[in-house]
């Protein structure tokens, strides 16, 4: 048998039917659902009198529209947002899928809840009507976002009509240096490959720096595979993965655990397997980075300066000019001189407990800069509860942060958490597009520790100076 990549193995294990032209019906093991992209899909089922094929493999949770203020039990003010959340309440009940309503302590961002509850397991196929489904690739699961018609297709058939992508390897040999977490790896890779570098590929991340990461760090890396244009990102499961999964509510137990483990241990890329593209970055060379523009590929080390548009080639010259103007920056300006109005810590990229610990390490016993608006939005109710138990919440509140309830919040500003015109934010989320965090808002993507540092100093700050 010819050697296979991890992607090849997971793909092959899920083909339920293959047509002559190579179009496959890929079986879907887990379908995650949130309130924004699902209402029409459920409506479609209703109109055609269809049922959810496998309600037991379908997990729904509202996250995008939910308020994160402490008084949210009193309901959602915006009528359209409220209706979308209520529609999910109703659909989940009517179609009998697993559901975590706003009132449930386990509610949170769909990509945080899935792994936390043990729904996401190695070797699975996982889809969601959301591009950051890539997150689940951290478990060695083939996970990607889909559109509303496809959501309905998966609900009705538990399969997806797919053609296979190409294989790409992103290798990070060596060790990371202090002050450089997973977020910097994933941003640095996008800076290297560009936002279209992964188009048509499924990426497998590997190498010592990836192996050394915790599961949470791996989720941060895979989360942004989509910003690199890839269909999905994958990391081969190992002891770190198994230890994380074990004992979670929906993870297999007893004899099934042993059987699962036996199969999971075969999920790695065989020696000599073919990759269509290979990118290598040395761990030691990765520095704390920050985005200066309005594309996730606009990445520079924090020690750098705002680029000159003329430094770019082709169509990027115009784009850089537009970005710099939108961001209100001056070419040549030191990145560490950029003043920040707001700090947002959260999202499916960096809203997990380790991210919050990293923030607490930086801000413990200190105060955020006067006039700074800073909020921490845990990725799930359970992350919030744990942070309170560990005393992190007290540290945040004493430092001057707002300590919120779980949701997507200012990552996409569909709820009331938004930037105002011209407001500049250091954010731990994944997208810095024009208007992403609010009309004319300005976003710099950073790691949690760098966001914490910016909250203290009021400027983009090299975290290495604070440790």
């Amino acid at each position: 048998m010819s050697p296979k990549t991890l992607y090849d193995k997971i793909w092959d294990a899920h083909v339920a039917h293959e047509a002559e032209d190579g179009t496959c019906l890929l079986y879907i093991d887990r379908h995650l659902v949130h309130e924004v992209t699902s209402p029409q899909a459920f409506e479609g089922l209703r109109m055609s009198g269809r049922k959810v094929h496998a309600p037991d493999k379908t997990i729904a949770v509202p996250d995008h529209n939910v308020p994160t203020t402490l008084d949210r039990a009193k309901g959602i003010e915006n009528a359209e947002s409220r209706i979308q959340v209520e529609a999910l309440d109703k659909n989940a009940k009517e179609f009998g899928v697993h559901y975590y309503p706003v009132s449930d302590v386990r509610q949170g961002i769909v990509h945080i809840v899935g792994p936390e509850q043990g729904w996401t397991l190695p070797g699975m196929t996982v889809v969601c009507g959301d591009s950051h489904t890539a997150t689940h690739g951290a478990f060695g699961a083939l996970a990607h976002g889909i559109g509303t018609s496809e959501v309905e297709h998966v609900l009705a058939t538990q399969t997806l009509i797919q053609k296979k992508s190409k294989n790409m390897k992103v290798e990070i040999p060596g060790k990371l240096t202090p002050g450089v977490p997973a977020k910097d790896i994933t941003l640095a890779v996008i800076g290297e490959t560009g936002t279209a570098g992964g188009t048509g590929y499924v990426i497998e991340y590997c190498g010592e720096a990836i192996r050394d990461l915790s599961m949470e760090g791996r989720m941060t890396v895979c989360n942004m595979a989509i910003e690199g244009g890839a269909r999905a990102g994958l990391i081969a499961p190992d002891e770190t993965t198994f230890a994380y999964v074990k004992g979670r509510p929906h993870a297999p137990k007893g004899a099934q655990w042993e059987a699962a483990l036996t199969w999971w241990k075969t999920l790695y890329t065989d020696e000599g397997a073919h990759f269509d593209k290979v990118v290598t970055l040395r761990g030691e060379d990765i520095q704390p980075v920050v985005t200066w523009g309005t594309s996730p590929e606009d990445v520079l080390p924090i020690t750098g300066t705002v680029p000159f548009p003329e430094d770019f080639k082709g169509g990027k010259v115009e784009a850089a000019k537009r970005s710099i103007e939108y961001m209100g920056l001056t070419p040549g300006q030191k990145l560490t001189d950029i003043e920040i109005d707001t700090v947002f810590i959260g999202s499916c990229t960096n809203g997990r407990i380790e991210d919050l610990r990293a923030v607490a390490d930086v801000v413990k016993g200190k105060k955020i800069k006067d006039g700074m608006r800073a909020m921490i939005v845990p990725g799930s109710g359970l992350v919030r509860a744990q942070a309170e138990e560990e005393g992190l919440a007290e540290i945040f509140k004493e430092a001057g942060f707002e300590w919120r309830l779980a949701g997507c919040s200012m990552c996409l500003a569909m709820n009331p958490d938004q930037l105002s015109e011209g407001e500049r934010c250091a954010a731990t989320s994944n997208r810095n597009f024009e208007g992403r965090q609010g009309y004319k808002g300005r976003t710099h993507l950073v790691s949690p520790a760098m966001a914490a540092a910016a909250a203290l100093t009021g400027k983009l700050t090299d975290i290495r100076e604070l440790i």
Binding site: P39, Q40, E43, Q84, A87, E152, Q256, A259
Partner: protein, 201 residues
Amino acid sequence: MEKFEKLTGVAAPMPLVNIDTDMIIPKVFLKSIQRTGFGKNLFDEMRYNRDGTEIPDFVLNKPQYRSAQILVAGDNFGCGSSREHAPWAIADFGIKCVVSTSFADIFFNNCFKNGILPIVLPQEQVDLLMKDAEKGENARMTVDLEAQEITTSDGDVVKFDVDAFKKHCLLEGLDDIGQTLQKEAAIETYETKMAQERPWV
């Protein structure tokens, strides 16, 4: 999905070129939770004043075209964003067939997913149909998908091409889901096998 059978109905003329999906359904309507109900907002900004009253000159507001089932349109119909809300709005209004010299690619494919037949014809034939449509209510056209021909109210016959597979799906009323469900046996076989091999899933 409803089967696309022989369609006889009023055709509305919209000679404007580059009608984009923002014109078809403006983005303020995307926060809806429905796939249906967009028909009343089809061409919203062209069709209504800011106060919600109808603009009488707009073709679909004219008495003779209010129940149009066919649209004869200018070049490059459906360009712009990929929103599936555009074909949803067209279908919800009751239009089942759009004729033009060309369509934007994504829109074209989205039509088939929603039971709408988009027909591409050379300019002079679109002109002929446009003239026929302009006659109003009495000018009922017939679109015969099986025979791949349109018959005007004067009895002129225009032949058209359509992808064989897509034609089959429309005729049978098969959407992607419908077709996948035809392979239900394969899915069940897979599930039975997996219940043995990976019971923890």
